[in-house]
């Protein structure tokens, strides 16, 4: 019997994996991918709660989260490209100065 609890546990595990990725990886692209994992874990929670409450709101908020994720990916990747042009590196520790 698959219930709300199962989905919440799965979503929690996925969110923790995303957090671990953000903190442990030293590659800007992988960090952005980890943020996508976290956003998807939250989406799963929204849909599961929406299903449990019998409401459409969960699915609509997922729609907005996806829009924000698309905007975040576009701007984030543009920043990554600009940084890579200046430093020839994707390691966040090489971007220690505010100005180049």
């Amino acid at each position: 019997m698959v219930a709300l609890d199962h989905y919440l546990v799965l979503s929690g595990i996925l969110f923790s994996i995303g957090t671990a990725g953000v903190f442990m990886r030293r590659n800007l692209i992988t960090i952005l991918l980890s943020i996508e994992i976290m956003l998807n874990a939250v989406n799963l929670t929204f849909v599961a709660f929406g299903r449990a409450l019998g409401s459409a709101d969960g699915q609509i908020i997922v729609f907005f989260v996806m829009t924000v994720a698309a905007a975040e990916a576009a701007v984030g990747l543009a920043i990554v490209i600009a940084l890579f042009r200046h430093h020839e590196s994707l390691n966040p520790e090489s971007f220690a100065s505010l100005k180049w």
């Binding site: 992988t30 699915q59 590196s89």
Partner: protein, 172 residues
């Protein structure tokens, strides 16, 4: 049947996400994340949300991940530095990495604790699911109309910002 599908998709999602974190080649990471999104889309189908499942595939796997893949291949970036080898045990890594591993484990423990403290809802889903696109659209364009319009401005801003940031500076 539903149970088997849930555990199958859940295992794929968790396994693929873990491998995304463990890969050193970003191209593999992106492709594994697409697999994870496919599994999540299956879970949305199990949750009677076919609209979300379809936009998960079209928008996430089809558009956002392809954008990532384009950038990874465009940059042709070197792999991660060997002194930060992720294959070593996370608790024996350098300071920030150890801190991150502890923090992630703490978050997982905290989420687990919170879930055991709540009364829990282990009954099967009741009620009628809202799965038709027309029902979702009706709510989206009435109750959430303002948020929907703001979204269009957000996308416009993101588009202009991305073009401006990634533009090559012309030589003076």
């Amino acid at each position: 049947m539903t149970e088997t599908a849930f555990y199958l998709f859940g295992a794929i999602a968790i396994g693929a996400s873990l491998l995304v974190i463990a890969q050193r080649n970003p191209v593999y990471s992106v492709l594994l994340l697409i697999a994870s999104f496919g599994a999540l889309s299956g879970l949305y189908v199990l949750l009677d949300a076919p609209f979300v499942a379809v936009i998960q595939i079209i928008v996430y796997a089809g558009a956002i991940m392809v954008l990532f893949l384009f950038v990874v291949m465009l940059l042709n970036a070197p792999q991660e530095d060997t002194e930060h080898d992720v294959r070593m045990h996370p608790f024996r890594g350098p300071g920030p990495m150890r801190f991150g591993a502890v923090l992630a484990l703490g978050l997982a423990a905290e989420l687990g604790w919170a879930l055991t403290r709540t009364p829990g809802d282990s009954a099967a889903f009741g009620g009628t699911p809202v799965s038709s696109v027309s029902a979702i659209g009706r709510v989206l364009f009435t109750e959430y109309a303002f948020a929907f319009e703001v979204t269009s401005i957000l996308i416009l801003v993101a588009m202009v910002g991305a073009v401006l940031l990634a533009r090559r500076e012309e030589p003076r």
